[in-house]
Homo-oligomer: 205 residues x 2
């Protein structure tokens, strides 16, 4: 917004924003360097002042996504307050909320095929959000009798999988697959049943 004219002022972020929008609308492979540049009001060649190439552009989108996601998850977890159970359930909700609020980021992170190995920052940011869920699971699992307690990393993987599945199958505009229920309800009830199976919720709740 600030500057105008020959110098854009904030082209790097403008390109990221354009890419996010394209990727949200047309899928993980539906963006091109040329079109992102066009939407930012700039020549394709200008992109190369800020990014090494196409791959680097989508990787930056994924990176920003993981950072937002990590913040959101940590905020939802809130160090386990008011209770381990409430905090855990909040992280599950945060997953879906993120996917709905930042669909472009979500696609860049989980569907674009960006390599985590090729980018250390990206790998670290991705590790972080996974860590929050795992911590939430570990804290919660202390309420399970030790002999029938699954590893925390296993049950966080279950929740991660169900959340991801709900997003992919029912929350995104996949043509032809009408959602039978609101995704939020689906995830909420699914996690609820799962937690009851772990003995963490009374059967009558």
């Amino acid at each position: 917004m600030p500057k105008r004219g020959y110098h854009h002022g904030n082209l790097k972020q403008a390109l990221v924003d354009a890419t996010l929008k394209l990727v949200e609308e047309k899928g993980p492979h539906g963006f091109t360097v040329a079109e992102a540049a066009k939407q930012a009001g700039v020549t394709p060649a200008a992109v190369y002042r800020h990014f090494d190439g196409r791959e680097a552009l989508i990787a930056e989108c994924a990176l920003q996504g993981h950072r937002i996601f990590g913040d959101l998850m940590e905020h939802a977890y809130a160090d386990g307050h008011p209770s381990a159970l409430a905090a855990f359930e909040a992280t599950g909700r945060a997953y879906l909320a993120f996917a709905r609020k930042f669909p472009g980021h979500y696609v860049a992170m989980f569907e674009s095929g960006v390599s985590l190995q090729a980018n250390a920052d990206l790998a670290r940011a991705s590790e972080r959000s996974r860590g929050v869920l795992e911590r939430a699971a570990a804290a919660l699992s202390e309420h399970i009798p030790e002999d029938k307690r699954p590893p925390a990393s296993m049950f966080s993987a279950h929740i991660w999988a169900m959340s991801h599945g709900v997003v992919e199958l029912f929350a995104r505009g996949t043509p032809g697959s009408k959602a039978p229920f609101p995704p939020e309800d689906l995830l909420e009830t699914g996690i609820g049943i799962y937690l009851r199976g772990l003995g963490l919720i009374r059967p009558d709740d």
Copy 2:
């Protein structure tokens, strides 16, 4: 295998097979008409004798996948024998088994973005496999006290979501996301905990 020479003999299926292999190796957008033709030992133009174009080729892969998948699911369900519970669990395992055994088909079906609306046969085949799981869920849900019974379509959606999530996150070669557990174990335990949450498995089992 039968014929050789100028006429291929079974080019249509050879093109489908080549596409499946490419899609398995290089992802949902990693195949081209030209390369599929090349792998089938044929000129790109020959593809148009058998398919309307690129989209039709990948759609045929998805269609064949849904048919195999539907057969597999029905066989696993086995009309609810030996018990509703065992049959239901078998369909869950069948989902993952299919994804592992037919990765190319899986990608074509669930990741390629083929439109279900544009192809009635495809929509029907896809409906069928979903129907098997839903029937299994309905049969099983009769063992739940009526007042605390979730709709069968909801709990089949939960299982579908978890299965899909496990496949996407832990069973496919996503670079950098090492699976903490064998996907089969993850899904088996996840479904087990979920079913316990529904009161369908004794807490001690």
